[in-house]
Symmetry: C2
């Protein structure tokens, strides 16, 4: 059995407050789940409301998508979330809150102030691209296994479990929100019954939960994707995967031609970095065919970027050459 208990009676938190001292008695194996908002307040991560846009930009390393007033940002921490986590709710009027500077460090500090063998998770509320409604996820952790990795094991039928990695810290954050949200304005909950997930040392925090860019199949919001390609000025020696180039060319070649005829060709030339792709018109280079080839090259450049490859399209003769590699 797992129990989720609210921590009642936590007063309004201000700069310099010691959150650990506000949390009462714990049992060994408890996981303390703290809403990031009070951590931000304790750490003085407050700004004035008119500075909201500047604050979002300060916290954003990459705009993942944008529509109207909504910006989905990747934060300095690697989180992909609305407005880089800058929040105007549950803070004094006229002020806004930023995420903690380093939420794993915040979790470690809180943990250090608590007695016993306990874990700490700092949470924030995230949207999801294809589902309505927000859920709480872990943005910082100390002393808790963030992921449970069943890879390499087998299920009860003997089938290999190829990719069953559970995001435990996120599930704990969501479970705690059920009690915090039910009561309203309860910023801390205790999850009891998961002592097997509490570790002796602080552990890796939430870093294992952040998917690296090269595994991200939704790296670019739809609007941004045509700018995904990176035009590089120099390439490293790191070899290019010919399969990745083949996939990019296949994908680009599947696009329709604006002229109704597919009068273009891509010749692959080279097997080092930079790899060379030579685009050319098939037949007479009429204006229409050159325009269609230009559109096709643009598709190739985007598809190469989707494979994690950098490119440079230069016009040394009519259609030029696309160099492909890893940017230096």
């Amino acid at each position: 059995m797992i129990e989720i208990l609210p921590v009642l009676g936590i007063p309004e938190v201000g700069p310099g407050d010691d959150i650990a001292s506000l949390i009462g008695d714990l049992e060994d194996g408890d996981i303390v789940v703290v809403t990031s908002k009070i951590v931000s307040k304790a750490e003085g991560r407050v700004r004035q409301a008119p500075d909201r846009t500047a604050a979002i930009m300060e916290e954003t390393v990459r705009v993942v998508a944008r529509r109207g007033d909504t910006v989905i940002s990747q934060t300095r921490h690697g989180f992909v979330m609305a407005a880089a986590g800058v929040d105007a709710s549950n803070t004094a009027p006229g002020t806004i809150l930023l995420l903690p500077e380093d939420p794993d460090a915040s979790a470690r500090r809180i943990r250090k102030g608590l007695r016993g063998r306990v874990g700490v998770i700092v949470t924030d509320t995230f949207g999801r691209p294809w589902r309505h409604g927000l859920t709480d996820v872990a943005i910082g952790a100390a002393g808790v296994l963030p992921l449970e990795d069943f890879r390499g094991g087998t299920d009860t039928h003997g089938n290999p479990l190829s990719a069953t990695v559970t995001a435990l810290a996120d599930e704990i954050a969501s479970a705690a929100e059920l009690v915090k949200g039910k009561l309203g304005n309860v910023p801390v909950a205790i999850v009891r019954g998961l002592s097997h997930l509490v570790t002796d040392d602080d552990g890796p925090g939430v870093r294992p939960l952040v998917r690296p860019a090269d595994e991200d199949m939704f790296r670019y919001g739809s609007r941004d994707v045509v700018f995904a390609r990176r035009t590089v000025t120099s390439f490293t020696d790191r070899p290019v995967d010919p399969e990745a180039v083949r996939r990019a060319l296949m994908a680009a070649d599947a696009a329709a031609s604006p002229t109704g005829e597919k009068a273009w060709r891509f010749t692959v030339d080279g097997d080092a970095s930079p790899y060379r792709i030579v685009p050319s018109v098939v037949g007479e280079p009429t204006p229409a065919r050159l325009l269609a080839l230009g559109a096709a090259v643009q598709n190739v450049l985007v598809q190469l970027a989707m494979e994690g490859l950098d490119s440079r399209w230069t016009m040394d003769d009519a259609a030029g050459v696309i160099e492909v590699g890893h940017g230096g």
Copy 2:
């Protein structure tokens, strides 16, 4: 306090089994969380492993993204998930399982077989685009509020709560997974202490959790986005939003030119459907400039698609015309 209790001793489920009869005593207000796998087994949603690709296609209404062997599909139900939910783990060797045909209906059937005022959630395991690890989410529900909508309210500081809609059913699914996953092979858990979320009638199921396509900022996977544009043969009278066209042109115009000079121009001509955009070369139409213009047009077509607009690029003269509207 919330308690999450495993339901132990559930035997291997087969076609025709009555899942409700396998669940023991409940209290009023309990929420029963059932792994979809046993629902699929009870409903006979089993296929032979060699038919996996066909099964994924059968369940897929749209490929959202693809990389190597991984396909992210939108299912018939509207869920965006790997392999359309077709799963080869925890099933008899040589077999695969599909999601229940209608998981909300499955939840209603299970609820009907249970005594007392209880809710039922059917869960499955989903990946997330920017975070490692899987979490359980609700794919079917009966008698449970799927979302808690705080919009229109105010927080404790009097700030308006503009978008705090919590995906309760998903958080409950994740909470239950903590107990099911901890013990292994426990397909049912009971969440106790959330009786305020249990409703008299079956309610809307999980439909409110599925984000409609026009709110989806990640509609197209990066690889597929260049094919997002729909080349239409006829347009309806529905007017085109000039702002959407302006945004698309601005976004496309921000791309770098392969020739180093931006020798293209887009002239907007028309305010009906189809709207007309005339691309042209600035200066002499050299091959390099035509190629660069072709790439720029491709960017415009993609950006128009991102605005939900259909287009048709025809070559009536050198660079032709882009007609923009809503496809008939």
